[in-house]
């Protein structure tokens, strides 16, 4: 399979990347664009560690081939806020959510997707929406609390 060159917008910046057409977006982001906040966890869309926003919607970047993301808008954890000021990031710090931290970029990106479509989610809605993302350290209690804190804080935007 010969390489293709694709142009896409990542965190507001236009990027042109060359790789095999079936290369998952995940590896393009991590190894070519050096945006390593997006993590590799399972490679098959089971854990959510690689969650990014694609055209504004949270999705697992390991499931999208480069050939399918041409011209699309990608937001990674690095693009969520310039200075860790997103309400979710502040709430994550206030609740001291992360333990090993490896899944947390994905958790935050997924939570940002939730708050965008549902700024005041109930606990049940949070649990339902967040369940695709695994945290092996089991920080779920604090993730849920942090989302509630961010939602209660107002001014939520992605």
């Amino acid at each position: 399979m010969s390489n293709i060159t694709v142009t896409l917008t990542v965190n507001g910046k236009q990027q042109s990347v060359t790789a095999a057409p079936d290369t998952p977006l995940l590896w393009v982001l991590r190894e070519q664009l050096k945006l390593t906040g997006t993590k590799f966890g399972c490679g098959v869309g089971q854990c959510g560690a690689c969650t990014v926003h694609l055209n504004g919607e949270p999705t697992q970047s390991c499931l999208h081939a480069l050939q399918d993301v041409a011209g699309k808008q990608v937001t990674t954890i690095e693009g969520l806020s310039p200075d860790t000021s997103h309400p979710l990031q502040k709430a994550w710090l206030a609740e001291q959510v992360p333990q090993c931290g490896y899944c947390q970029s994905g958790q935050i990106m997924r939570a940002a997707g939730l708050l965008k479509q549902n700024p005041r989610p109930t606990r049940e809605e949070i649990v339902d929406y967040m369940s695709p993302n695994i945290c092996r350290c089991g920080t779920y209690v604090r993730i849920a609390r942090a989302i509630e804190r961010a939602a209660g804080g107002g001014g939520v935007q992605s």
Binding site: A19, T23, W27, V44, T84, L93, Q96, G101, I126
Partner: protein, 747 residues
């Protein structure tokens, strides 16, 4: 803050000075100017020249910054922060001026006393193991700073007190910051002997407060660096197809398809597998998948399965002529069992279980003619260096170590051969370039090193009053220590602490006890897994205790309390059990729900838990609430102990209900999170934790509640249905099978 009322009283022993030797000895440094910590953080201690005078634990800078070394690996458990807190507390540092520096690999200086001075972060033994020494070191630094201030002022040392970051002379109102003292201080060549207050009386200033963990900020914006994130100039990517069974070797390699993949640079046959080197990870993974390899059939593990293991282990567990290695023995077990009024017996099992740390194993290495540089997340910095040096046949001094954050450890990254680090060393040597070797999730499972398969058999003798007088616990399992750490195994006299821990019963008052291990070499790959042997051995203990209570018609909470000894440690156990029963409103019956209790003394930490469950028609157990009380003595970072306990409970929930590895013809059947099910947010009960802070030496906190969960759930299921489950995990089909056998139907 800066009042004399808050000042730390001088508890200095000015008269006595003694040379301190060995690992307990402190040197500390004074440095001019602002800190150049990045050199230290990178672990390149020798590179940190210039304004930084190198030292073992503490450097005080003239700008007031206090750099404190932390020898712990950070995998989410918080000890990277907790250890410097202990030093800073005793030296009365201003925490806002403290910078934490990851200590370089050096067992002699930074080894954990709990592991015979191996620099190894494991076993929830970090705070407890380093605590006394770090308090001593902190007190020595404070002594030297105050002594320098006293000399400058010409006053007796006894008149000088400290406030955070300051030496103060209350009588004259004079004060000097630690940074100001650093500008003129003389550091004695010999460390002063300083007496610290015993834990029961000490006035802590930082210990017991919730200070933000130093690693957390980078974990919410993607900047935290794990080894998988490392990129070095000229780096290529490696993937390895490993032998499906430990010890098998590639006999025939068909790599035609693999070589044809764009971006593949090299195929590197290895003793234990076949390596692929490629320009990017995707090509490396595709090529690995395309390899066709025939494996030698000599390895021990071929043909093995869970069923074969259970058959073999269960026969041994029952065999009166078999004799194990004694793990704990007290009194006269044979005599007491013979005299007992009644003898009960129970058998408990556990499947293999997988760590599932979120970061698949990986490392980066750059091998050159001069040596080797490695980047890795490891539970032991020094073991990593030794293994890399051995793989290349070079002196350890030629290995440059870069410690990275660990995306989860849980015991998987502390094996003596650290194969996931040696992988990149071998591949870099083969490629002649820096290589990042990443395991896929499938590799992480197929090459997994698991909590072993277990068959536990317990016999208990009771006297006519219903008191337990004899307890014989036999554990048959795969060997763990001999496989994961031959060095420690050699020192252990055949006692496999990873498999056997948790069979000891330090708080139950049972006069005659024997815990013996019969660990088997089945050829399976094993490792410590969060809570090690305690995870299964405590399950066996606590379900069996529950069975005894039921047979005697005594309430399970009451029965446990009745078995407790009269020691202070057992009093703490009693408090924990009574408190958790109160929290759960134990006596209140719930319609369609069952409650189950479990208790554990885990390395001195007292934990008790209660689960509330219901049962679905398909055999699925639903855990609604979990209450837990933990008393780990002095809580250095209380909220972090709560966080660790939440984490332990969630981890225990997966092990209790869904997590199992199946071995088929010696190889691992499961491949990814679609067939190895770990808890998700929707699976989590309401978790209620009470941290009891007592004035005892701090004990472990990182995994203590994990073993409570399966036993409390199994005991709750019994209360609900009258049916006992004696095998982890408590799978729906096992529940349905047990109920069918007992003739019980789901309400």
């Amino acid at each position: 803050m800066k009042t004399t009322k808050n000042a730390k009283a001088a508890t200095l022993n000015a008269g006595r000075r003694r040379f301190m030797t060995g690992a307990a000895g402190l040197t500390f440094g004074i440095a001019a100017g602002a800190p150049a910590l990045q050199h230290l953080v990178a672990g390149a201690a020798e590179a940190a020249t210039g304004s930084v005078r190198l030292n073992n634990w503490v450097t005080v800078f003239t700008d007031g910054t206090v750099a404190i070394m932390s020898p712990a690996a950070e995998m989410g458990q918080g000890s990277l922060t907790a250890l410097p807190v202990i030093v800073a507390d005793e030296m009365d540092a201003d925490w806002s001026r403290v910078r934490i520096v990851a200590a370089p690999p050096n067992d002699k200086l930074y080894g954990n006393p709990a592991f015979r001075f191996l620099q190894y972060t494991a076993g929830s033994a970090t705070v407890t193991g380093y605590f006394n020494n770090l308090r001593q070191f902190g007190a020595q630094v404070r002594y030297v700073l105050l002594d320098n201030a006293a000399q400058r002022w010409g006053v007796p040392l006894a008149e000088v007190v400290s406030e955070p970051g300051y030496a103060v002379h209350p009588r004259s109102g004079r004060r000097l910051s630690y940074g100001e003292i650093a500008a003129f201080a003389k550091v004695p060549a010999q460390a002063p002997e300083v007496t610290v207050e015993p834990v029961a009386k000490a006035q802590f200033r930082l210990i017991g407060k919730d200070l933000p963990r130093v690693d957390v900020a980078g974990k919410v914006n993607g900047s935290a660096q794990y080894s998988i994130d490392v990129q070095v100039p000229g780096m290529v990517y490696g993937a390895i197809l490993r032998e499906p069974v430990e010890g098998a070797a590639p006999e025939k390699i068909d790599d035609r398809e693999a070589r044809a993949i764009d971006g593949v640079l090299q195929i590197a046959p290895l003793k234990f597998g076949v390596g692929v080197i490629a320009q990017n990870p995707w090509a490396a993974f595709k090529a690995k998948k395309a390899l066709k390899v025939t494996w030698s059939r000599e390895a021990t593990g071929w043909g093995f399965s869970n069923d074969k293991g259970y058959a073999q282990f269960a026969a041994l567990a029952k065999d009166p002529n078999a004799k194990g290695v004694a793990w704990e023995t007290q009194g006269d077990i044979a005599g007491a069992m013979g005299k007992a009024a009644t003898v009960f017996e129970g058998e408990y099992r556990a499947d293999y279980a997988y760590h599932a740390q979120m970061e698949p194993l990986n490392s980066v290495a750059a091998v050159t003619a001069d040596g080797c540089e490695i980047w890795c997340g490891t539970q032991s910095q020094t073991v990593a260096v030794t293994a890399a040096a051995a793989a290349l046949g070079i002196p350890e001094a030629k290995v440059k170590f870069n410690g990275m954050l660990l995306g989860g450890g849980f015991g998987r990254r502390g094996n003596r051969d650290v194969e996931f680090i040696v992988d990149s060393v071998l591949m870099s040597k083969a490629a002649g370039k820096p290589v990042k070797v990443m395991w896929t999730r499938e590799d992480d499972l197929h090459n997994g090193r698991f909590r072993p398969l277990y068959v536990n058999r317990i016999r208990a003798g009771l006297d006519s009053q219903g008191k337990i007088v004899a307890w014989h616990h036999r554990v048959v399992s795969d060997r763990v220590l001999a496989f994961m750490d031959p060095v420690r195994y050699k020192e252990s006299k055949g006692r496999d602490n990873i498999a056997m821990r948790g069979t000891e019963l330090p708080t139950y008052d049972i006069a005659h006890r024997l815990a013996e291990g019969l660990q088997q070499d089945t050829g399976m790959r094993t490792a410590p897994l969060r809570a090690i042997g305690v995870g299964q051995n405590s399950f066996a203990n606590e379900v069996f205790i529950d069975e005894l209570a039921a047979k005697l018609g005594v309430d399970p909470v009451e029965f446990r309390i009745l078995q407790l000894a009269g020691t202070p440690r057992a009093q703490r156990a009693k408090n924990a059990i009574e408190e958790v029963a109160r929290m759960a409103d134990w006596g209140r019956k719930r319609r369609g729900r069952g409650l189950g209790v479990a208790y554990l003394d885990y390395s001195g930490t007292q934990v008790a838990g209660i689960a509330e469950v219901s049962l679905a028609r398909d055999g699925r157990i639903h855990v609604h609430d979990f209450w837990c009380v933990i008393d780990a003595g002095v809580a250095v970072q209380p909220d972090n102990i709560i966080a660790q306990t939440q984490s332990s409970i969630v981890y225990g929930l997966g092990l209790a209900l869904t997590e199992r590895i199946d071995i088929v013809d010696g190889a691992v059947k499961q491949s990814n999170f679609y067939d190895y099910h770990v808890p998700r947010m929707r699976d989590i009960p309401n978790i209620h934790i009470k941290l009891v802070q007592t004035r005892n030496h701090p004990t472990g906190a990182g995994q203590m509640a994990t073993p409570l969960v399966p036993s409390a759930i199994a005991n709750a299921l019994f209360q609900l249905t009258g049916v006992r489950l004696r095998q982890q995990p408590l799978l729906p089909e096992r529940v349905l099978h047990a109920m069918a056998e007992a003739g019980v139907s789901i309400a």
